[in-house]
């Protein structure tokens, strides 16, 4: 079983490698539990979801989130490793489960740092034609914009919580699945 451990993996191919190794063993079932990336069932879970998305773009060095996979990704990777989906289910955690608050606290730091840093506008693109501006579009500039946008959304979502406190973040829904050999 892999229970809230999938986001810690260094890459998606590690997930595939684990599932292949399990398929080569005598294991008959694999049990999965990971965050669903759904906050629709509770507005107070939105900071948790945004914290995960922010860290998927800008991981913390010692953070919990390194590789964010969607439930569909996990099912597809499992199928390629020889496992069928026996069934899936989504549960809403108890309001006392602190994981949403923990992640929001960690990610808040990234968001505040991004908001405090001056936005970098490449000089070569400013006031020139569109073709020149396109040339300044880089992986780094795209990442910077994404971190700032996710960070802004996170800080706004925390502000909208009761008393505006990150400690009132709820954990998002959890996706559960059982896999069986093909």
């Amino acid at each position: 079983m892999l229970v809230h451990s999938i986001y810690y993996l260094p890459t998606a191919s590690t997930f595939t490698a684990i599932l292949r190794a399990l398929h080569a063993s005598s294991a008959q079932h694999v049990f999965l539990a990971e965050w669903s990336l759904e906050a629709s069932s509770h507005a107070q879970a939105l900071p948790h979801l945004l914290s995960v998305l922010l860290q998927s773009v800008s991981p913390l060095p010692e953070g919990n989130i390194r590789t964010v996979l969607t439930p569909n990704d996990m099912v597809a990777l499992a199928a390629a490793a020889g496992w069928d989906l026996a069934g899936e289910h989504v549960i809403r955690p108890d309001e006392k489960l602190a994981d949403g608050y923990w992640e929001a606290s960690y990610a808040q730091g990234i968001a505040k740092k991004a908001a405090a840093a001056a936005i970098v506008v490449p000089l070569s693109g400013a006031g020139q034609d569109v073709a020149a501006a396109e040339e300044t579009r880089s992986e780094e500039s795209i990442k910077q914009a994404s971190v700032r946008a996710h960070g802004h959304a996170l800080l706004s979502a925390i502000k909208a919580l009761p008393e505006g406190k990150a400690s009132n973040t709820r954990a998002m829904d959890v996706w559960l699945a059982v896999l069986k050999r093909k």
Partner: protein, 128 residues
């Protein structure tokens, strides 16, 4: 076999070495029991049945005799699974002992209870 009989407080107490964070540990343990119940729900042969023990037997069969917890961290799910196995063994007297093994590349001082868990009386959780 009785997922509904698992008590988060007693499992948390047995697996935790730092009593200051007991409330947090109880919430984590309750969540792990809900995950086990969710898997039982998936495997249940009669999922529309509003039975408290829904899917218990199917989960027991699917878990088998040896469970590997990959990325067990501080062992929260090990403790819940070991408690389930212990409840099963008490229900079916003389049944074979089941084993749950946790593996994690993290340092052993990660979290608060993994080392305590190795020594606990909850079934036979092993940490590698």
């Amino acid at each position: 076999m009785s997922l509904s009989s698992l008590d988060p407080s007693s499992i948390a107490r047995e697996s935790l070495t730092d009593p200051r964070s007991l409330d947090t540990q109880i919430s984590q343990t309750r969540h792990r029991i809900e995950i086990l119940k969710g898997w039982a729900h998936i495997l249940s042969s009669s999922p529309d049945d509003a039975n408290a023990n829904e899917g218990d037997n199917e989960l027991q069969a699917a878990l088998g005799k040896c469970v590997l917890d990959i990325g067990c961290g501080q062992g929260d799910h090990l403790a819940a699974t070991a408690a389930l196995f212990k409840a099963q063994a008490e229900h079916a007297q003389g049944a074979d002992k089941n084993v749950v093994i946790g593996v994690d590349p993290a340092r052993l001082d990660y979290g608060t209870c993994a080392q305590g868990l190795c020594l606990s009386v909850l079934g036979r959780p092993w940490l590698i």
